[in-house]
């Protein structure tokens, strides 16, 4: 086959994809939010989101470093717990789909911890497919299931296969069914996606503990709304209240700001593995550094 013919074939394919995209966007613009938004409980955040997260939609929660996965999972599970609590016409159950790559060093959910966090572990269905493609299929199926309260799709990094088309498919299916679909991206870069919002979650020093000042207080997390399709972005410090299942505003204590900010910005490189467009690392970078940020 000559090169020019190959070129033409590629052009046709690209045009076809563009047309599909245009149709998808038109469909998304045509239908408004399917159900009422899900408020987080923290006033300023809800105001920024015009009342809360759009329930039938896709939202991305990413942790910049692998060790922030605790905070990011905490945020995603808090949202899921609120979605279960909101009921929304008998919806129940959370489906947690994890890509096998995310399971290797990420550990697994701990039911006793979930219960203390305010989430009923028996309402959780864990799906662990054997590869990313099967995981994406499972997430698609769950996003289209109208009886479900929330779906969490845990992936690691920015796999090339989970691209904008895949996120758009998830978005459309969630919009149709009204499921709160969350992508939990461990040590992922920001990248173009069809998600309605993208949150960057890192951990924050815990609150003061009156009874035992040297102890670990209520957990806090630092939340950055990096991208919001419908409104403004912002940054907040929130604390999760397991009793009320609310995110409350917490003042980040200036006296307790991180003592040692990152020594070398280059060390904070996070995982971007199989992307052709990713910038190459300078010098020799060890695997664990990419995974676990700053080596001291």
């Amino acid at each position: 086959m000559s090169l020019s013919r190959l070129q033409t074939a590629t052009d046709i394919l690209t045009a076809h994809t563009r047309a599909q995209e245009a149709r998808a966007y038109a469909a998304m613009a045509g239908t408004g939010p399917v159900s009422e938004p899900l408020p987080l409980g923290a006033g300023a955040v809800d105001q920024c989101l015009d009342g809360g997260l759009a329930c039938g939609g896709l939202h991305e929660v990413r942790s910049p470093l692998a060790r922030d996965i605790g905070a990011a999972a905490g945020f995603a599970l808090g949202l899921a717990a609120r979605a279960v609590q909101a009921d929304r016409g008998g919806r129940h159950g959370i489906v947690w789909v994890s890509d096998p790559a995310a399971r290797i060093d990420g550990g697994g959910l701990f039911p006793a911890g979930l219960a203390q966090y305010g989430l009923d572990p028996s309402g959780l269905t864990l799906v662990e497919p054997c590869d990313l493609q099967a995981a994406m299929w499972a997430a698609d199926e769950a996003a289209g299931c109208a009886g479900l309260a929330a779906l969490v799709f845990q992936i690691k990094g920015n796999p090339a296969r989970f691209d904008i088309t895949a996120t758009r498919r998830l978005m459309l299916r969630a919009r149709e069914s009204g499921v709160l679909a969350l992508v939990l991206r461990q040590s992922g870069e920001e990248e173009a996606s069809a998600a309605a919002t993208r949150w960057r979650v890192t951990t924050e020093l815990s609150g003061a503990d009156e009874i035992y000042p040297r102890g670990v207080g209520a957990m806090r997390l630092s939340l950055t709304l990096e991208r919001n399709r419908t409104g403004r972005t912002g940054q907040w410090c929130l604390a999760w209240n397991p009793k009320t299942r609310n995110f409350d505003h917490a003042a980040s204590d200036p006296a307790r700001q991180p003592a040692h900010p990152a020594a070398h910005p280059v060390d904070r490189l996070s995982a971007t593995f199989d992307r052709q467009d990713s910038p190459g690392a300078m010098g020799q970078v060890l695997d664990r550094r990419r995974d676990f940020g700053r080596a001291s």
Partner: protein, 511 residues
């Protein structure tokens, strides 16, 4: 099988008392004078160009099982011949009671079976009779293919005593006293015969003559309900197969309704024209009675196969078996419980679990089960959702979920357990102020952390009844580092009492 006219005679040899003997031979070898049981060297003298192969009992058995699976197209009751070890003989029993009319009568069934197996390249000897014993004898030593009802008693009388499935030694000793055919012993006084030759002889005789009942044990469990479709022309296209499965599924609904059952597990068996049989199974989380859902589950199951269904030259019979069905409490009970909304919701969730299980494998769709122990990694397990009891499943998906987990504390502002637990605790390098206090600094996965705040210890003793004497106590600490990362660490072993140098492990991450 027909081979080239100049092809050498083929025999299969087996070792009998340290000598290679002929265990099977083809027609060309027989024409050259080779006999069964002859030693290989004698046979080579008769036919120097003999091609010989060693017996492979395992593959013989596997082939027999394949044929048995294929024979299920005639009846679900197919059993391997459980002859005594002394008789190396490959046979199958089929109970075709009530099945013959589906193929147009007994004669048609026998002719069809013989023709199809013949087309696959097998020489078969078969006989249809009232008792398994008589059919066994007639297939091997008789001529007739079908013994009329009630005629088996007469038919077996002239046959050799070997037809009674007896050990060769017993047949030989009977022969020495002049008892050579079944007819010889059928009318002799029973007591002296049994006293001299054993009760086994009388039992076999009674089984052949139908005086004693004999049960065969089918290889595959018999399905509660089956429906099948035969094709004049084999089908191979995926779409056709899906269509047939959908049609079969809709055919199974009516009998399920009549019995008040819902489907929990069912199987598709695809019979390929060349004799290969493949099976696919799906399970559902709760009794199901919807044909479209069943068909969709099978589509997912087929899509989840690593390689496509190997249709070869096509399938000429597809059967749907209901392997397990439970009472169907259906829409009525749901309506009483709480409106259509919750019904639709619950149904959607269960249907999702079924679809995921069908495509990904049941063991990949799990839920938590709790165990009664304080050791964190043992305090919970995961089990496939579909395998759990349907009643438990319903409670879990409904509002009464916490009742399943009586030991869980109600949510409190104090959090002592992490959200994420590592499957295997990871070893740390630590610097501690005092040996039994929390660490000051630790290094985990190549990064060092400075502990700013800590709580603990929370002591979790070992389970001596499981781990034995000498297992170590764990002291758990919640620590927060100077950046705000919250970890769950433990020290393995009490300093001074259990170990001189306790190791530290990372076990979990808090939010």
């Amino acid at each position: 099988m027909d081979a080239h006219p100049d092809a050498p005679p083929v025999v299969v040899t087996d070792t009998v008392r340290n000598a290679l003997c002929i265990a099977a031979l083809d027609t060309r070898a027989r024409a050259r004078g080779v006999r069964l049981g002859q030693s290989l060297s004698d046979a080579r003298a008769l036919a120097p160009d003999l091609e010989c192969h060693a017996t492979d009992h395992e593959r013989d058995r596997a082939l027999l099982l394949t044929i048995a699976a294929w024979c299920e197209r005639y009846t679900p009751l197919v059993a391997l011949d459980a002859a005594p070890e002394a008789v190396r003989d490959h046979g199958l029993f089929m109970d075709v009671t009530g099945c013959a009319h589906l193929l147009g009568g007994e004669a048609a069934l026998v002719a069809d079976l013989e023709a199809r197996l013949g087309a696959q390249g097998f020489h078969v000897r078969l006989c249809l009779a009232d008792t398994p014993g008589a059919a066994w004898a007639m297939a091997r030593y008789g001529q007739a293919h079908i013994i009329a009802e009630g005629g088996h008693g007469e038919a077996v009388l002239p046959l050799s005593l070997s037809g009674l499935r007896l050990p060769p030694a017993l047949v030989a000793s009977l022969g020495r006293v002049g008892l050579k055919t079944i007819g010889c012993i059928a009318h002799l006084p029973r007591a002296p015969l049994a006293a001299r030759f054993g009760a086994r002889l009388m039992q076999r005789l009674d089984q052949a003559l139908g005086r004693e009942a004999e049960a065969i044990s089918p290889i595959m469990p018999v399905a509660d309900l089956s429906t099948e479709r035969r094709f004049a022309e084999p089908i191979a296209r995926q779409e056709d197969i899906s269509q047939v499965i959908a049609a079969l599924a809709s055919g199974i609904i009516e009998p399920l309704e009549r019995r008040g059952l819902g489907l929990r597990r069912c199987r598709i068996r695809l019979f390929r024209v060349d004799g290969h049989v493949s099976g696919l199974e799906v399970q559902t989380a709760r009794p199901l009675r919807d044909a479209r859902t069943i068909a969709r589950l099978f589509e997912e199951r087929i899509a989840g196969l690593h390689d496509d269904l190997d249709a070869g030259f096509g399938f000429d019979l597809i059967r749907l078996d209901v392997a397990h069905a439970d009472p169907f409490e259906g829409a009525q009970a749901e309506m009483m419980a709480g409106g259509m909304g919750s019904h639709a919701g619950g149904h959607g969730h269960d249907a999702l679990v079924d679809r995921l299980g069908a495509r990904l494998g049941l063991e990949r769709v799990q839920r938590f089960v709790l165990a009664d122990t304080h050791i964190p990694e043992r305090s919970f397990g995961r089990e496939p959702v579909a395998a759990s009891h349907p009643g438990a499943r319903r409670a879990a998906s409904g509002a009464a979920a916490l009742a399943l987990l009586p030991d869980l504390p109600t949510p409190d502002a104090i959090i002592t357990r992490p959200l994420i637990l590592f499957d295997r605790p990871e070893m740390l390098q630590t610097i501690a102020e005092v040996p039994d206090g929390p660490p000051l600094k630790f290094r985990w996965r190549g990064v060092s952390y400075e502990v700013a705040r800590s709580e603990g210890p929370e002591r979790i003793a070992c389970e001596w009844w499981r781990d034995g004497r000498g297992a170590r106590t764990r002291d758990y600490f919640r620590v927060e580092d100077s950046q705000g990362y919250r970890f769950w660490l433990f020290r393995h072993g009490l300093y001074g009492r259990e170990t001189g140098e306790p190791a530290w492990y990372m076990h979990g991450l808090f939010a």
